[in-house]
């Protein structure tokens, strides 16, 4: 067969969401002569950044301080975040947010024209910028529209990247990608590569994540030899709609919404999250207290309420009530209109008049592609940013509204560093890379198309559902050795059955059954790293709660887990690397009225 077509650029970005687009602009501005390829399996404005609702954190107001933001983030992360990275992140955040403001993001404003901020979970001081409750949507569209300004950003829309291409010296020089429209495999080549492909919530059945969040970039890097770091830390957002998993933003609590159980009790006060104030008290909601506690704790409280029989039974399972009625129609329509729209459409509930049934739902993967504080992986020329990466600033639990800012700060940083790497390492051998892409094309055909009709072959949806059930059952909010072992075994079994997968569709144009099969393989790899990393961490920290090891163990586990891929689909090799602690030694993680950074 002939060679795949090759396309030459300076930097290749895989993923067109918030981080990828920010990186693209950074490169386009860093070096206007550079050609930047942006390879995305969907059109950029479909990327999952679009669904983020509540806001993006950055210190901007006079009553706030960088040190407070750092402390909130580090303590929210249960001290598993790298503090040098957090410092960089918090210091860069305001500038990045202002930059996005300059690019047209319609931030909600105060009467004087400055940006408005709202309180958010786990943050001692209100610092969350927002655009009503469609912050991610506005950020993504502002970024996407801004990229249209640059003639040197070349988009490969609806191109599904399947493999990283490394040159003879082990440097990453591009990817092989399937153009969905035609099924053609292309080698998209550059002098450096950035992965910005988002998270992998679709490893779980009940998630706020869109269909596209299947961990493809994580799996690609993992297979190429980069570790997946801290994969056992999966964030459950405490307030999703039962049944669909649609996100009801934390901003609804930031604006004053409360959580009550079957008995109408604000149950969070029973779990060391402080004491409630009346909803008409002007000091309500209090930061780092009650409903503004961190997501891991709130989700855990739900499970404990469920175990105690105090949750509400709905036809879609257990729930508690998120009550917004006291906010009134005007405030709801101004500050959180999307919440009302979603609740009305998908739950048949108008939050102005009725409380919304909610329950925890998989929302975010704290872990990801192991990168250093420069967003670089251990493969020269390969960078990663956004949810797919683990810097790490999120540690064992990410604070709401830090991830949108993370896209900007580390997307921009990855772009800058990748551009510099490309300038410093201009030469590489194209033919070897094209040959690898040829091999990848042949592998895809062999694996999914060429086998004779596999009667009784496995169906993608069946395997995916078994993966989902096993992950929720074994690697959910509370885990133990037995449940995790069952999940690890299940994934091993699914890998074996995956070899026997059968597609109905063996054609080229827009074969979304093929991409679903490729996505399932990504999910299996990523889920495997999650389950095994969770198995090895015999402590409880942040979002990782082991019923058989309920205490935090700093002596043994104040460390990042690193899962390394093994070729044969067997269990990953797990190693640990130290956490960078600079000025904030591990301490007790307390929430309630007087928690937070103690000042002299």
């Amino acid at each position: 067969m002939s060679h795949v077509s090759s396309h030459h650029h300076d930097v290749v970005i895989i993923g067109g969401g918030g981080a990828g687009l920010r990186a693209a602009i950074a490169i386009a501005e860093e070096n206007p002569d550079f050609s930047v390829a942006c390879v995305s399996k969907v059109y950029p404005m479909r990327s999952h950044t679009v669904t983020a609702e509540g806001g993006a954190a950055a210190v901007i107001k006079d009553n706030d301080s960088l040190e407070d933001h750092i402390y909130d983030t580090v303590s929210g992360a249960d001290w598993l975040a790298d503090q040098d990275a957090v410092e960089y992140f918090v210091n860069r955040a305001p500038e990045e947010m202002i930059q996005l403001e300059h690019w047209g993001c319609p931030w909600s404003r105060r009467p004087d024209g400055t940006v408005q901020v709202r309180p958010f979970g786990g943050m001692k001081i209100e610092r969350t910028w927002f655009a009503a409750d469609k912050t991610g949507f506005h950020m993504l569209h502002s970024l996407f529209q801004t990229t249209l300004k640059y003639g040197n950003i070349v988009r490969y829309d609806e191109h599904f990247a399947t493999k990283l291409l490394l040159d003879d010296e082990g440097r990453c020089r591009g990817c092989a990608a399937i153009e969905l429209r035609t099924g053609t495999v292309r080698a998209v080549l550059g002098k450096s590569v950035i992965i910005c492909t988002g998270g992998a919530g679709k490893a779980f059945p009940f998630t706020t994540n869109g269909a596209i969040k299947t961990g493809d970039g994580m799996a690609m890097a993992y297979r190429a030899g980069v570790a997946l770091k801290d994969m056992e830390f999966i964030q459950y957002h405490p307030t999703g709609l039962p049944g669909t998993g649609i996100l009801i933003t934390e901003a609804s609590r930031g604006e004053g919404g409360i959580l009550v159980n079957r008995d109408g009790r604000r149950y969070l006060q029973d779990y060391d999250l402080g004491q409630p104030l009346e909803v008409d008290d002007p000091r309500h909601p209090q930061t780092r207290t009650m409903e503004l506690g961190p997501r891991d704790k709130l989700s855990q409280c739900f499970i404990k309420e469920m175990w105690a029989g105090r949750t509400i039974k709905t036809k879609d399972g257990d729930a508690v009530h998120l009550d917004l009625r006291h906010l009134g129609e005007k405030k709801i329509d101004k500050r959180i209109p999307f919440v009302r729209e979603l609740a009305r459409s998908y739950a048949g509930i108008d939050p102005v008049y009725q409380p919304i049934p909610v329950r925890p739902v998989v929302h975010y993967v704290m872990g990801g592609i192991d990168v250093d504080s420069d967003s670089a992986t251990n493969i020269p020329g390969l960078y990663a940013a956004g949810e797919c990466a683990c810097v790490s600033i999120n540690g064992a639990n990410r604070l709401g509204s830090n991830s949108l800012t993370e896209l900007l700060v580390f997307g921009g940083q990855a772009g800058t560093h990748a551009a510099r790497f490309a300038m410093d390492h201009p030469d590489y051998d194209v033919s070897g890379l094209v040959a690898q892409a040829d091999d990848e094309r042949d592998r895809i055909r062999r694996t999914y198309f060429s086998s004779p009709a596999k009667s009784g072959g496995e169906r993608i949806a069946v395997l995916r559902k078994e993966l989902h059930d096993s992950m929720e059952e074994g690697a959910g909010i509370y885990r133990n050795a037995d449940s995790l072992e069952a999940t690890c075994n299940k994934i091993a079994e699914l890998w074996e059955r995956y070899a026997n997968i059968a597609l109905d569709d063996h054609t080229n144009s827009f074969n979304t059954e093929l991409t679903a099969a490729l996505e399932l393989s990504s999910l299996l790899d990523v889920a495997q790293s999650m389950a095994h990393s969770a198995m090895e961490r015999t402590e409880s920290r942040g979002s990782h709660q082991r019923l058989d090891h309920p205490e935090r163990n700093d002596d043994d586990f104040l460390a990042h887990s690193l899962a390394f891929h093994r070729e044969d689909g067997s269990a990953p090799r797990i190693e640990y690397s130290p956490v960078t602690i600079t000025k904030w030694p591990p301490g007790a993680r307390t929430y309630g009225a007087d928690s937070g950074l103690k000042r002299e």
Binding site: Y43, M45, H48, P106, T114, L148, G210, I460, D504
Partner: protein, 256 residues
Amino acid sequence: MAETKTITLELFRYHPETDSEPRFQSYEVPYDEDWVVLDAINWIKDYVDGSVTHRWSCRMGVCGSCGMMVNGEPKLTCAAFLKNYYPFPIKVEPLVNFPVERDLVVDMEGFMDKLQDVKPYIIRDDVNDTSEGEYLQTPAELAQYKQYSMCINCMLCYSACPVVGHEDDFLGPAALALGHRYNKDSRDQGQSERLEVMLRSEAMWGCTFVGECTVVCPKHVDPAGAIQQAKAMGAQEYFKRFVMPKGAGATKGAGA
């Protein structure tokens, strides 16, 4: 004992490698009153026919991927509930006024080009450094364009608009509303540059204010209103150039 209820979906099928004409294929789908049309299509793809091809992602009405014709109306299939059609069959087709790539997937390259044409980004002569802080914008100034910034690019309006179907040069509701969104942004200074594009013969003037774009918009953007305002702005710009061709912001080609 309850018999399992079902509902029929008639899907538009077209494969570019084998078909010269499209056809409809019927599928029996279990009926669940919480399901939307998209859930039913996904069920078909997962368990009955893996070759059914469609786009989707967020399933919460904000990514804009899953727009299709449902019984002849452009809809986000993630917001079209089966219960609003049951027990009658539901006919699902790709969005009209676009070429069909395969089954329910349309070609949106032309749409993407039109978005780019309106220069949908902040244009300024003087760019402040980020160290000088944010550009001030009062809530009243924000309200001037906020509605027009809510477009999710789902393209339903292009299917509802007869002019899009007849006039290739027409930029269409979403693109024009987006251009207007930036023209109305108090931080922007690129109005003249943007109108330069919108003033071209049928680019904006092709609109005859049928108004269906606004009716079908799932995000209440009101492109029809935006286009009327843009026309008024465009007319002012036109007369400004006609009366004083060398006036502020005028560029080549004015007054043709």
